[in-house]
Symmetry: C2
Subunit: 336 residues, 2 copies
DNA sequence: CTCAAAAATGAGAACGTTCCCAAAAAGTTT
DNA sequence: AAACTTTTTGGGAACGTTCTCATTTTTGAG
């Protein structure tokens, strides 16, 4: 591999001048610049990341931390992140926190050690010690949170979907459709986004003058590698076993809703006449299942793009609105 | 951040000794080692990646190049890769080649510039100039191909599923089930894996003494962001429009098969009595659609694990069997 | 107790950049 | 043409490691 010195020799200048050309800094005579550029091309030179990084402390690399990699939600978000990252010459590490023995903290330490320039953080569980650590990290380097992880988010950058408001509005929609008995399935209350959606559900009921009947709320505690489909099926069976059952079920995520549909189909329950279902996420599967799932859509890719824009702006010390909340969109299909 | 010199001073030794402790190399007195380790812990020291990389040329980073990121096939493969990578202290760049203006070659150059230690390469299109370039790259640093990209693969490392053999066997299965009119849907013939599967189909027919009827082969040329579902639906409609139609359709990938099912359902065609469907990939969706899709399953995660094991072994200069072929498994469900 | 061998440690160069500062070249004014 | 700016260029230190080689310390045999 050619070094900056080889280029300097080839072009008959000093390495300082070559450096100036590479970085478009300082002054350099047009003729000299051209000579250097030709030498660079001739030798196929490109600066060493190590040496550059050693001086500048920058890696042109950002990390996107996700709790659950195979979830298509994060793949889609990653696309958005990558869209923007590549545009600015950055590469992206995808870091899966959940499955591995390494905790969020360990993983983050590794990222710091690798001099990552910025982090896009998708958390999962409400966990105060992790949260506190991350808040500290976010003072050290640009971090964007994709989630309302802290009670006080005023000092951090974030981009997220307003799950609370989205679900609240969905309840209104159901109410207007004539539903009065509205069930809710939560997979795990220690997941902050799930928690937030649930609170939106409660608020929606309250808005409409309905009371939350605890037996219509189906809760599951966290599992290691959750089988959402099974969870939805179990929930559907539970609801059907009730004498006083809801006439529509809200699922905290689409996959659970899809499990419900599968089970209701199997039990020959008519959807939506006997029982409605509504999901959250608008994963591609939700339009493929029959009947197609009514759900709340999130601008996921946009979410990723926005987060990446913010992180990179912060890396470059630019001013940018770093607190963005998107709204979900109700997509009415065949299950309501 | 503490440097190796800070640690040296703290422990009262030279930086050479600290380096020896870090890397577990050379000789160092137990008492000294302990003192150094304490100093490291006390200062929260960890070696700088830049400085280390600058000396060793290694980044402890591998890249996984994929043609289509949102395809769950690759997410699953990534899990396998990450399983192994993290075990050995590596991190993984996921590189999406298809959607971006940068070609495979440009992307690979960027990886080389970043001193990636090894590459796991999922190609997409048969393209000789790219292939030639990649072959050259694979001489420079450890590369594992996840695909039979070259006519002569004898000199490269690879891990892949034998699509040819898998489809050939599936044809035998269909034949044994009494099918004689077997259709085939290809999304794109310039994708090497797809091509290979198709050849397996032709061979299977030949084995069984059937002739390939060109009108039963539904071909689509490559699209930019292909809508496989629509493609499958179109194909199903095409087949149903034939007076002499196949009694079973093989789809080159599950998503297409699922599109077929959707359309056949919509047309009230009885599956599998009036028309059978068989897919390839066993994506999670294939068991969720109704009726559930018969398909060919690939040990995807294992694929990724194996690839990562090979790359890392090669990085470390270890001997390992670097040419592995897995067989697909026929998963019989409700569509045949 | 001496001396050789082995074990442990340290000094300093090197890796390829960036950046500060000094020096040289070019341009401008008197 | 001299003196003074301004522009352009070069030299060398620094970044934090690893690694070679030399030096010091320890061990063990005679």
């Amino acid at each position: 591999m050619a070094t900056i010195l080889d280029v300097a020799k080839e072009a008959g200048v000093s390495k300082s001048t070559v450096s100036r050309v590479i970085n478009n800094e300082g002054t350099v005579k047009p003729a000299t610049r051209q000579a250097v550029e030709e030498a660079i091309k001739k030798l196929g030179y490109s600066p060493s990341y190590f040496a550059q990084g050693m001086r500048t402390g920058l890696t042109k690399t950002i990390a996107m931390v996700v709790p659950e990699y195979t979830n298509p939600f994060y793949s889609e978000m990653f696309r958005g992140v990558e869209d923007v990252a590549l545009k600015y010459g950055y590469m992206v590490f995808v870091c899966n926190t959940e499955r591995h023995a390494v905790s969020d903290i360990e993983y983050t330490k590794e990222l710091l050690r690798r001099n990552i320039d910025g982090i896009i953080y998708n958390t999962y569980h409400r966990n105060d010690s992790v949260a506190e650590y991350l808040k500290k990290v976010s003072k050290q380097l640009p971090v964007v949170f994709m989630d309302k992880i802290f009670d006080d988010c005023s000092s951090v950058s974030y981009v997220y979907i307003d799950g609370y408001e989205s679900v609240r509005k969905a309840v209104h929609y159901l109410y207007n459709q004539g539903h009065r008995k509205i069930g809710y399935i939560l997979n795990s209350e220690d997941i902050s986004v799930i928690q937030e959606r649930y609170i939106g559900y409660l608020k929606g009921l309250e808005d409409c003058g309905l009371t939350a009947d605890e037996k219509w709320v189906y809760r599951v505690r966290r599992e290691n590698e959750p089988d959402y489909i099974k969870l939805g099926r179990d929930a559907a069976r539970y609801y059907m076993s009730l004498s006083d059952r809801p006439d529509v079920i809200m699922a905290a995520i689409d996959m659970i809703g899809i499990g419900c549909i599968k089970e209701l189909n199997a039990l020959h329950v008519k959807i939506p006449d006997e029982m409605g279902v509504i999901g959250f996420d608008n994963i591609s599967l939700s339009s493929l299942i029959e009947p197609a799932l009514t759900t709340i859509s999130q601008p996921i890719r946009k979410l990723g793009q926005t987060a990446a824009e913010i992180v990179i702006a912060k890396i470059n010390g630019e001013e940018i609105n770093d607190q963005v909340i998107f709204q979900g969109d109700l997509i009415v299909r065949e299950t309501t």
